[in-house]
């Protein structure tokens, strides 16, 4: 109780300090330098706080303070690009998701090749080459990969056992069947998926060997597979295996539903395992497990899960690029990659998955490494990607809710998205 009271007071003091700093028209921090970082909150928390702060030594050595500004993914990208397009910005490091760097965007950020040559990162080759490739635009490396979020199929073991299922599904057909069984038992909903992310319909299309937009900017490379994927989702919705609230379900809801046992299956990044099984929040601690998302029994192509990667970038108009690079170098070290992985961050280094400390703490690491080997982004970056995703999701929702047939939706996706692709 006392410690909590102290925290409030600290909170108030922080507020007062901010006002004080403002009236003096200049920041007055203890350290002589401040590095302003623009990120998602997970990036900050994965580096640890307080005594577990992985950057403690770096801060002391550089006499610098870290000042994190965190946003949710979409507003974060908007803010980062906005800051980078000003004449100068206070933010020297930003975190960028890998489906955003188009040629136009890449121009706003510092090419990191020369920095890497001058002052290299420890075992740079160890950072997954595919991820590095994704951050190389027009021949310039603009970001150092730092986080991967590989999608997994999570299932609530207890919920499955209640309806007599002893093993998780190995094909998508089994998954649909098991979800239906849970739904029919009336104890929980089969599956919970957010409707505002392209990840999920893309995963379902890939289960049948299809895709939305592949690496070569081919739209709907296998239309039949996309149709099958949407049909599966629509049937699940009709059965009640997806909740009626599907169209307004968000990513956060997936976590809440799984923790409360309201749904038996969901698709989330492997790194969420700890949170889903957190005894303080979850009604099913230790019972929510993960496997790779299963492909169709008829599909000849191996299932490629969706992976989202984040990289650290330096805005070209940043003020302190030296300090920014020093920070990036430090965060990318083997040691810190492991620390972040232990804190639930999907590592960008291949070797980290094999670290004994990680495999001991996180039994999923091996599975995750295996799924990651086959995984790729939901779709490649291009200028109108955000709009294309919105159109895609609109049609998917119409198909799932039964307002259009999957065939009509696929035809509409084709005709509406095609004009947005880069020529």
């Amino acid at each position: 109780m006392t410690s909590q009271l102290k925290l409030t007071r600290r909170g108030f003091l922080a507020g007062t300090a901010a006002v004080g700093a403002l009236s003096l028209a200049g920041p007055s921090f203890a350290a002589s330098k401040t590095l302003n970082i623009l990120s998602h909150r997970v990036h900050q928390t994965s580096l640890g706080e307080g005594d577990a702060d992985a950057m403690k030594d770096w801060k002391a050595a550089n006499d610098a303070e870290l000042n994190w500004t965190t946003f949710d993914s979409n507003p974060l990208m908007d803010r980062l690009f906005r800051e980078a397009s000003l004449s100068s910005t206070d933010f020297s490091v930003g975190y960028m998701v890998d489906n955003r760097p188009t040629s136009e965007i890449a121009k706003l950020f510092e090419p990191l090749g020369p920095w890497l040559e001058k002052d290299g990162i420890e075992e740079f080759d160890d950072i997954a080459p595919g991820l590095v490739q994704g951050m190389t635009v027009d021949g310039n490396l603009i970001g150092i990969p730092v986080r991967t979020a590989t999608q997994a199929l999570f299932y609530n073991e207890a919920r499955l056992e209640e309806v007599g299922i002893s093993a998780p599904p190995t094909t998508i057909e089994e998954l649909v069947e098991q979800a239906r069984k849970v739904t029919e038992s009336g104890k929980a909903t089969g599956m919970i998926l957010a409707s505002d992310l392209a990840v999920f319909p893309v995963m379902f299309a890939r289960a049948y060997g299809g895709d939305f937009i592949n690496k070569d900017f081919e739209l709907l490379p296998n239309k039949e597979a996309m149709e099958k994927g949407l049909t599966t989702l629509a049937d699940m919705f009709k059965d009640g295996s997806l909740p009626k609230s599907y169209a307004t379900t968000k990513n956060d809801d997936q976590v809440t539903w799984m923790q409360q046992g309201r749904a038996a299956f969901t698709v989330l990044p492997f790194a969420r395992a700890a949170q889903l099984n957190n005894a303080e929040q979850s009604k099913y601690p230790g019972k929510i497990k993960a496997i790779g998302f299963p492909g169709s029994k008829d599909s000849t192509v191996p299932m490629a899960s969706v992976v989202e990667a984040w990289a650290m970038v330096i805005p070209a108009n940043a003020k302190d690029k030296e300090l920014a690079w020093s920070f990036i170098k430090e965060v990318s070290s083997k040691k810190n990659t492991l620390v972040m992985a232990l804190n639930g961050n999907g590592p960008a280094r291949v070797s980290t998955f094999g670290e004994a400390e990680l495999t001991a703490k996180n039994p999923l690491a091996a599975v995750e490494a295996e799924v990651l080997a086959q995984a790729r982004g939901a779709f490649p970056p291009f200028p109108e990607a955000a709009r294309a995703q919105a159109l895609f999701l609109e049609e998917v929702q119409l198909a799932v809710l039964g307002r259009k047939t999957p065939a009509e939706a696929v035809a509409a996706i084709e005709s509406r998205v095609a004009p947005l692709l880069p020529s």
Binding site: P75, F81, T102, I105, P243, K244, E394, Q397
Partner: protein, 298 residues
Amino acid sequence: MAELGDTMKARTLWGVIPLLAPVQLLLLSVIIIPSIYVIWLSFHVSSFGQSATFVGWDNYIRVITDPAFHSALINTVIIVVVAVHLELLVALGVALLFNSGLKFRRLLLVAVLAPYAVSEVIAVAMWRFLFDMDVGPVTQALQALGLPILEWGYDPMHAMIMIALLTIWMHLPFTFIILYAARLALPSDLYEAARIDGATAWQSFRRITIPLMGPAILVALLFRYIFAFRLFSEVWLMTQGGPARSTEVVAVYLYQEAFSYNAFGTAAATAWIMVIVSLLLASGYIYLLRRQVNANAK
């Protein structure tokens, strides 16, 4: 006295410019100049990392021919027409109820005012929770009573009803107070005279209350039109325009263009279309109503 008034005028406005300056400066720098820049922007194609290129009326044509914009515009008009008028009727009813003599009037007035103090963010959190399709207390109560529940996460119609209910909840205090204050200001001897002449309650409502409250009703409507037309937070935080963009309103469309797709040119064009349409909507309606009120008053 008259001479003094004249001298004040004669000294012209120069002397009072410092008193007017703060307001004018604020409006000029925060609203007027940025709006002019938005006009310039609306004739250009612009995004991050890309310098603006002049494209003439292209952005306007793109927006006006975009089916998504049409549905956003229709949704906005539906909300404006249905929600605002429903709200007006309820507010008028409550105002007359209060005027008819109530016990604990001050206390009840405060109760009706309460939603005015609630932030949009918190109001949306409240309503999302109360109407949660699975565990929401209101949903459960409706189910227990055997009534149909509001499937706002699934049925676009229900989602629109939900948004309409929420805006009415948030803005009823405002409309109510305007109408209530206007009703209080009506002289009671008019009603006395009407009663002596043998007018029924309905007749005096029709012949006295409505015409005399006309200006206040107009003001309430004007304000609410303007505010309902820029409706954003309620929709954005509640449904994000879903399911399948079926509840998207113009301000959400604008936000998407600007902040999701980074298409600043079309966003700017949408902004100006928004300003002009709301202006037309408000002025046209006000003109009609004013004419009617004047005719009634005669």
